[in-house]
Symmetry: C3
Subunit: 389 residues, 3 copies
Amino acid sequence: MKLFKNFFLLVGFLLSAFSGNLFAQDPAISNLVTSVINVQKYERAIHIMAMLILGFGFLMVFVRKYGRSALTATFLLVSISLPVYFLIGWSGIFHFPNEIMERLIFAEFAAASLLITAGAVLGRLKMPQYLLLGVLFIFSYMLNEWLVLNGGLGFLTPNSFADTGGSIVIHAFGAIFGVAAAIFLTTKDEQKIPVESNYVSDRYSMLGSMVLWVFWPSFCAALVAPAQIPVTILNVIFALCGSTLATYFTSVVVRKKISIADIANASLAGGVAIGSTCDKADPVTSFIIGILAGILSTLGFAYIQCRMQKGLKFVDTCGVSNLHGRPGILGGLAAIPIVNGLNPINQLSGIGITIIIAVVAGLITGKIVSLMGKMLVPYDDASEFLDAE
Amino acid sequence: MKLFKNFFLLVGFLLSAFSGNLFAQDPAISNLVTSVINVQKYERAIHIMAMLILGFGFLMVFVRKYGRSALTATFLLVSISLPVYFLIGWSGIFHFPNEIMERLIFAEFAAASLLITAGAVLGRLKMPQYLLLGVLFIFSYMLNEWLVLNGGLGFLTPNSFADTGGSIVIHAFGAIFGVAAAIFLTTKDEQKIPVESNYVSDRYSMLGSMVLWVFWPSFCAALVAPAQIPVTILNVIFALCGSTLATYFTSVVVRKKISIADIANASLAGGVAIGSTCDKADPVTSFIIGILAGILSTLGFAYIQCRMQKGLKFVDTCGVSNLHGRPGILGGLAAIPIVNGLNPINQLSGIGITIIIAVVAGLITGKIVSLMGKMLVPYDDASEFLDAE
Amino acid sequence: MKLFKNFFLLVGFLLSAFSGNLFAQDPAISNLVTSVINVQKYERAIHIMAMLILGFGFLMVFVRKYGRSALTATFLLVSISLPVYFLIGWSGIFHFPNEIMERLIFAEFAAASLLITAGAVLGRLKMPQYLLLGVLFIFSYMLNEWLVLNGGLGFLTPNSFADTGGSIVIHAFGAIFGVAAAIFLTTKDEQKIPVESNYVSDRYSMLGSMVLWVFWPSFCAALVAPAQIPVTILNVIFALCGSTLATYFTSVVVRKKISIADIANASLAGGVAIGSTCDKADPVTSFIIGILAGILSTLGFAYIQCRMQKGLKFVDTCGVSNLHGRPGILGGLAAIPIVNGLNPINQLSGIGITIIIAVVAGLITGKIVSLMGKMLVPYDDASEFLDAE
């Protein structure tokens, strides 16, 4: 009996000693690894910030006399949208993740979508109007995010809609919202004024485009689990390679000579379209999606935009419907055959809800923002800046 | 007894087997995790390098005919300061951390401070003078770093002074040193020559500003422990959002139209001011600090700089006193109410020591560098470059 | 006996419980750490992508009227080379690593080498010719990689040739291939046309150069084990500091005034030359290698290139032989004294094989590409772009 008792005492001691080791050491290591993984999310969050500020900012510098305004508007839109996203998130109206880096990345996604919207009305808003646009947009964006991604109102359960890199909720939403808002934010005069670019502004635009191209994999993989990141990255890069090559060939075939605006914009369409399936597709499929998106986007710039603008009587300054709108929808639809076990009804519902909210919220926002007046001279820094040439 | 003995043998075997597992496997993993954390420091070190070379470099391209010189000076100042920091560090005169990535990051902090100093005298030094300035500056900077952060001479014990992201030791030190040096490095003629910018150089300047904005969180979080990094990042981003919005509003109110120079510079003041408390504050406080810093910096560019230059008879080419000087001091002082358990005497002593050393060393350095002569034509690439326009 | 049995049952239970903990928890952690290390490779892969697209792209914008073409060619060369590298890799003709991020990084190395080759013939190819050049180049590059690094045909066993950061297989190979190809891709007229740059394009060129400088450490350390990364990074940075300082001094001594083209190019020579020994050298040796490479490269731009072009009747548009050719060979040779236990015969064989393949494959490729015709007007965007100025 004594032996028995001793035995249990000893085992108990060993058990506690070992479990002490196991539960004191391992948690320390695994907490550290969790922190390290969060820091890696931060790395991608910074890449996305480079896309927002440098990428979108310089891509929009192509408008000839509007460079200062485009860059300043970018700064202001990012600076208003991130705090507003957190403010609404803290309020608890919609969904808000627990972890700081996830919150930041979702807020950056919203800012990206806002900058797409801003591209549609670029050159025709004063700075305070961009700020108001930003506040109204972020609210609408979070409403849609909640409905489509987080099970808000119960239309779609979480994870039943495939959109990891945001083809639909970021790109298509931003583009459609922007086009809808532009309908109330384009005057008759502005429909006749050509949006001029020049040789120097072109190269700035390519700088923005290249920053977006380079960091796009981090955008799509921002919230992907570490083990799935390599394949996600590769898919995004293959999609971008596909759209870049397709843009060149389509531009030459359609226009005889290359349009640098096609190269700067449509080359990115593969990144837009791979968003929904970036962690599920394979590289060859991604390459094909990229090619299709590049062709679709270039044809948009060459043919569709002009007719759409005349029909709906608006101007889409940066052609966001060509780069983010149609390729975004393409990407969302491509998820149906690509993603195993995806319910097509759910995917189509998610796309449908997004389109409806973008159109309605865009029209309302456009109307409200238009009440603040219009610029004296559109597309010109001199309206608001000192010493503009 | 035999049973008892067997039991202990077995337990001994199990113990050694388990402890073997625990002490052979865990160290391997934990060494690997340490390496991984070091590689993450490297990621931030590279972000800082982007700020030094691309950020400061292009921010200083705003001087119209001095773009080549500004970029070349940036290259040379970084290339001289990093090896000199290591050389002095190896000599053991001051403090030098053990770990390679920490050494590199501290050296980069010194280079950042040097580039701030160089901004004050930009356009009025020849390349060999920038190099001499660099060597003398790094020595002075390391002296201050040793006194204020590492307990040198015993004024302040390590960690008794709050300045994680360097509002005081990096920004204020660099700005004050630069202003002091400028007093001996400004000729009477140069006080009358306006520092011209133009439309193209403005946009380069915005490029530099945006690179600084984007990577600023990595600067402040460079040496923060992994678990504190998310909150640090968020604080820095909120501070930058605050200063960017405040800069726009202040610039419009004060000047009627927006000055692009205000946007490019004062938008960054939040990053400067949040440095001392970036890992201790919360996002809302950080946003408020950013707003105050943005207002202070814009008012500096609009009103204070001009009067200060006339009073002290010098030219601060880039206005570093507005961007790095006053907002840096603001940030250092803000630590007193914000950081729990901080002794105000220590914080004020650290600020005081930094100011004294910056003024004295700056004046001496300015005098020494001025002995090497002056440029034939200030603010013009043609002084030193082939084929300058 | 029953006690004995109970004892073993209990121990067995504890053993399984503990081992369950050890073998269920530890593999989870170590798998996670492996994923985290892969994600860190991805971080470096993205830095390399920034070098390829932004770095090489803008470095080549220095040709005055050829900016759009240079940027578009960069986009197309990257977009063709990555998928082609994977396609040949999947085919199994040569060597192909197992891990996705390693594959991507090796593919990016090939793309970097191709962009070096393209620099030699820049301004004299139409876009479809760049694409054909890309396909033929990648095949030749992978042949050389297989022979020199992966034991192909048994000339060199794996790891017997020191070239971690690719001084030989990336830089020297690309430069020599490009010069060889240029011999068939330069017309008589083109030998007489000066390659013009101007003030605006110069600053874009500095932007490209700076992007390359900043991210070069990630290029060299891309595939280095985590524990060796800090020292590798430091070596690369010291080498770049050395070449930057040496370039300034050599340029001033040789030309009286500074040539901005020297600064933009030769400053990077330290990065080229440290490639072979980046993980084996120490910082001081690296600094010296950088200085030697900077001098060698600047003298190349000032004296050697002009004579070589007249002798061989070709034009090396970007001077890649000065930046990547000779400094690359210097770096490969420097490994002989620096790397412990390196067999000089192996190192020289690797260099020799690389040179032979580059010359032969470059000449053949140049001849084939030349069959597709020539540009109407060299060095001018108007050949292929709409609305070029």
